[in-house]
Symmetry: C2
């Protein structure tokens, strides 16, 4: 079995070592420009178009992450009929739950304000926010959204979820489709974006959307930088409509050193670390799926290319 | 039925309104110096000795909080044979779980370091800590400790608990008694103190204890300031043995403006807000317990005065 590997910015050698261990009978190689030798599987993160173009002989392409936008942007260069398989979770869901719980707790419990007071050596009680009036709205209720909801419910936060099709998750108030988006936004004191990036969701966090959140609302973006119209966020913070934001993803990464976000104290910036692909978990999952395919069994995580996720 | 009320620093009027509503047939009054008229129950927070002295006619004293150290310090002034009843939870446990989860996530996910980088407009990846090597140890496994454990387990943290007598909590590695304390400390990358304050636990977080934590360990104190020898914490931070601390309680509160903690960037300070007594929940609980006592039923939360909690 031949496997070609490519990971943009990744430590190829360590991935190869793990893949060899998990699939000792496979021949795994790092794809290089000009390599058109046959392959059964491709394991990729942000691959160049030339790697996959015309490779209709592949049995599957595995994407090293939950978001498949970088692969789908290859469009016509993707070999027709080859299934694209996304990592279901591979340790990412709990990391997302950690990140979002941290962001929500920091804002809800006013820890950011206590930090600011402490810098001034100030001991001052601040009136607690009321949980009953503090709904967290999750945009995107797939595997990651559901895990985030589970973590927040455990702290008794009221949780709402929005997705294209209605999801029934115990304890979560479910909103579905464009018709129910405004109602969802109006009731989300914190808005968490964990949507897939598709043509339909690009720029969804714009002025029109963010203005529908209640006054003082907080934004958490752990999906893709292109979901957010960055200028609109700055305007709504400056206008006092939004209370703050914690952002892990940006239009340009690394965030340019002269970007206005750096100077906005109510924006907390992390360098795209909310959920890292864990090598061990990912390789185990890919190896298991390859074995399923070889046995002719169905695999989970198949990407619907028409939907974009 | 006569109820006397006293709350140090509290909004007596609002408590009285709630108590009247919950127990409409009771006569509730704020205790004042010199009031020795009969009473059936006392509802108190940090009461003066004169309020309770000699009042053997009380059927119970209710403490407006989980920690009963301020009442027990009255010692011989407490009327003999009168049960002291602590609030079991009254909304405090989930607040403790929120606070500790926040502190643990902030340290584990290195959000404090990302904040520092962001202040310098720096976008830099930091190697994630490994959860398998990141045990959280909870000192004190009562109602609050158990709720904290539940929240942390949900994020897949390895959780250890230490208490005087062994507690069996699913998923928690239980340590009990003085003999097992050192082993517990040696394996706690984060140490969370939620012990009752008794003569036996006063100053328990001293140099000897903190030095047994692994290098780089983090301390969270949400119990009482007197558990910690503050000078020893500063020394162990300066020596590089401890990685940081998040403290909600202090020897002197408010924390004096010239206290060295304010200038130590690795100490996060909050002004005793980890778990506020919620008036509504507390009053409902007290009213329910009074009804149980009047019907001759046993009540939960009885303080064992010899143990001190």
């Amino acid at each position: 079995m031949q496997i070609i590997f490519y990971a943009d910015g990744g430590a190829a050698e360590q991935w190869l070592t793990e893949l060899h261990k998990a699939l000792p009978l496979a021949d795994v190689r790092v794809w290089q420009e000009g390599d058109s030798a046959p392959a059964d599987y491709a394991v990729v993160w942000k691959p160049p178009a030339a790697m996959l173009q015309g490779r209709t002989g592949l049995k599957a392409i595995f994407n090293l992450g939950a978001g498949v936008d970088a692969i789908l942007q290859l469009g016509g260069s993707l070999p027709a009929g080859v299934p694209v398989v996304r990592l279901d979770d591979a340790g990412m869901a709990v990391q997302m739950a950690e990140y979002v719980s941290y962001a929500v707790l920091r804002y809800f419990r006013r820890f950011d304000e206590f930090d600011a007071q402490a810098r001034d050596h100030q001991w001052r009680f601040l009136k607690p926010r009321r949980k009953e009036e503090f709904s967290v709205g999750i945009l995107g209720m797939g595997i990651l959204g559901a895990r985030i909801a589970e973590a927040l419910l455990q702290f008794d936060f009221p949780v709402r979820g929005w997705s294209r099709s209605r999801k029934e998750i115990p304890g979560v108030h479910s909103h579905a489709g464009v018709d129910e988006l405004d109602d969802f936004l109006a009731q989300s004191q914190v808005l968490v974006c964990v949507l897939p990036l598709t043509p339909g969701t690009t720029g969804i966090l714009d002025r029109a959307t963010l203005a529908k959140l209640p006054k003082g609302a907080y934004l958490v973006n752990v999906a893709r930088g292109a979901h957010l119209v960055e200028r609109d966020l700055v305007d709504l913070l400056d206008a006092g409509h939004l209370g703050g934001a914690m952002l892990d993803v940006f239009h340009d990464e690394p965030l340019p050193s002269d970007h206005p976000f750096w100077n906005q104290p109510r924006i907390t910036i992390t360098p795209h670390v909310a959920a890292l692909t864990l090598r061990g978990d990912s390789v185990r999952q890919i190896a298991a799926k390859i074995k399923q395919i070889e046995r002719g069994q169905p695999v989970a995580g198949l990407v619907d290319i028409t939907k974009g996720y």
